[in-house]
């Protein structure tokens, strides 16, 4: 009987994990001692950080989409058939078409999704750039924008914590290039009492905002949007008028997680070091869907994938695993259209940003193309 590995979710974390496993366990796969089944819900794989560039016409939508089949090692079986039930007791995943996938090891990498419907009025009154449709709509709205106040609001929780700041700086550059800065007011808001979660990034942003005339309000959590009057009301009791609202809607995990009783709102209790679903040695969790208090980011998913692939491979071939996740996250931060900085941190080391430079911006642009090698488990 082969060891059966099932991976749910063909995004960043699931794809990297699957490809690393296929490489580590190549011999076992070709000899039939191991089987890897990936269950995902879309035939296409989207590089989500690309949405930011789609908004500003820096990247065409089709440049950030690839066929999932082409990204996967040929020894991995791909099923485009959404998982509808994860039955941990019987170690089986059920899919929409009625198939059953028994497993010895399960990797859940179903990511996170935006839920604008959780904020009354946001769907009607707001724009966002966290999915392809939203990014394209916002691209058009910016082209048509005659001037006025652009409010940027951030829901909790959300993935890619640097994106709201990047969006703000890129908006500034966009209107500068269109020679419209005298007609546009940028108003940034943030849920906690500074401009960003990461204190050094927040401290760095303060003078940048001043220099650029970007206004801000902190401790601002969207409660409701009056789309007709164009007003955002915050939980903290303030009101913000806008002409164009760009928000990062709050997020939840995949419905299958909550529906299988694995975690409220789709967040799965995860051991911060082993990445096991707490209390279950055969189930691992990777990427945005963990409940870990760390950034929901592609880099997090990437580093976690290496740990999980290593652990499963070692358990199968050596009978034990010792590799542990140290909480490593790396994020590039675009500070304009031609400069960027980056931060890295882990559970023990706080971040220290480096001064923005053109070189780091080029690295980020390079990574946007190299991502496909990461997904393949090469980079």
């Amino acid at each position: 009987m082969p060891k059966r590995i099932v991976i749910i979710g063909g995004g960043a974390g699931g794809t990297i994990t699957a490809n690393l496993l296929a490489r580590n366990l190549y011999r076992q796969l070709v000899s039939g001692h191991v089987v890897i089944n990936m269950i995902t819900d879309k035939a296409e794989h989207v590089y989500q950080p690309g949405f930011l560039y789609v908004v500003f016409d820096k990247v065409r939508p089709d440049e950030i989409v690839r066929k999932q089949k082409e990204l996967l090692d040929q020894n991995i079986n791909l099923f485009v058939d959404p998982a509808v039930k994860i039955d941990k007791e019987n170690k089986i995943v059920r899919t929409q078409s009625g198939k059953e996938f028994p497993y010895d090891y399960l990797v859940i990498a179903t990511g996170s999704r935006i839920v604008p419907e959780d904020i009354p009025g946001l769907k009607e009154g707001g724009h966002w750039f966290y999915d392809m449709e939203g990014a394209k709509k916002l691209r058009q709205a910016l082209k048509d924008f005659p001037g006025g106040r652009i409010a940027i609001t951030v829901g909790v929780p959300h993935k890619c914590p640097v994106a709201p700041l990047e969006m703000t700086f890129m908006l500034y550059e966009y209107f500068k290039q269109k020679e419209m800065l005298d007609k546009v007011e940028l108003f940034y808001t943030y849920p906690i009492n500074r401009l960003h979660s990461l204190e050094p990034v927040a401290n760095w942003a303060v003078p940048e905002f001043e220099k650029k005339g970007i206004k801000s309000e902190t401790f601002f959590n969207m409660e409701e949007i009056d789309a007709e009057k164009k007003v955002v009301r915050s939980m903290e009791g303030s009101e913000l008028n806008y002409d164009l609202l760009i928000s990062v809607p709050p997020h939840k995990g995949a419905p299958v997680v909550a529906e299988s009783g694995l975690g409220k709102d789709g967040w799965i209790a995860t051991d911060k070091k082993t990445l096991h679903n707490e209390g279950s040695d055969s189930v691992y969790v990777v990427g945005d869907t963990t409940n870990l208090p760390i950034s929901k980011a592609g880099s997090t998913a990437h580093f976690e994938s290496h740990i999980v692939a290593e652990r499963i491979s070692s358990e199968i071939t050596e009978g034990y695993s010792e590799t542990e996740y140290d909480g490593k996250v790396i994020c590039f931060v675009e500070t304009s259209f031609d400069e960027a900085t980056y931060i890295w941190f882990n559970y023990k080391t706080p971040p220290t940003p480096v001064p923005p430079s053109k070189m780091i911006h080029w690295m980020k642009l390079g990574y946007n193309r190299l991502y496909w090698l990461s997904a393949k488990g090469i980079l």
């Binding site: 909790v156 959590n221 208090p293």
Partner: protein, 78 residues
């Protein structure tokens, strides 16, 4: 501790999104009556968290120094 905690979030070592954001997330997604505790390795969480709870009219139950880390306990009252 006078109140039984329903949900403890261990945000020690969390640089981003950080303990205050974890408190906001937990308070938003909890039912009225829930008592939430956030653990943090940064003392500022007790000050920032308390300030936010006051702004949104939620109850601060207590903050405490646990020796090397801090705890903030809040109750969702509305």
């Amino acid at each position: 501790m006078s109140v039984a905690v329903d949900n403890t979030i261990d945000a020690r070592g969390s640089a981003c999104p950080g303990p205050t954001m974890e408190l906001i997330k937990a308070m938003k997604s909890s039912a009225v009556g829930t008592v939430v505790e956030v653990l943090s390795s940064d003392k500022m969480t007790t000050i920032d968290g308390a300030a936010w709870l006051k702004k949104v009219g939620q109850e601060l139950v207590e903050t405490s120094d646990k020796g090397g880390y801090w705890s903030i306990i809040a109750k969702k009252i509305k």
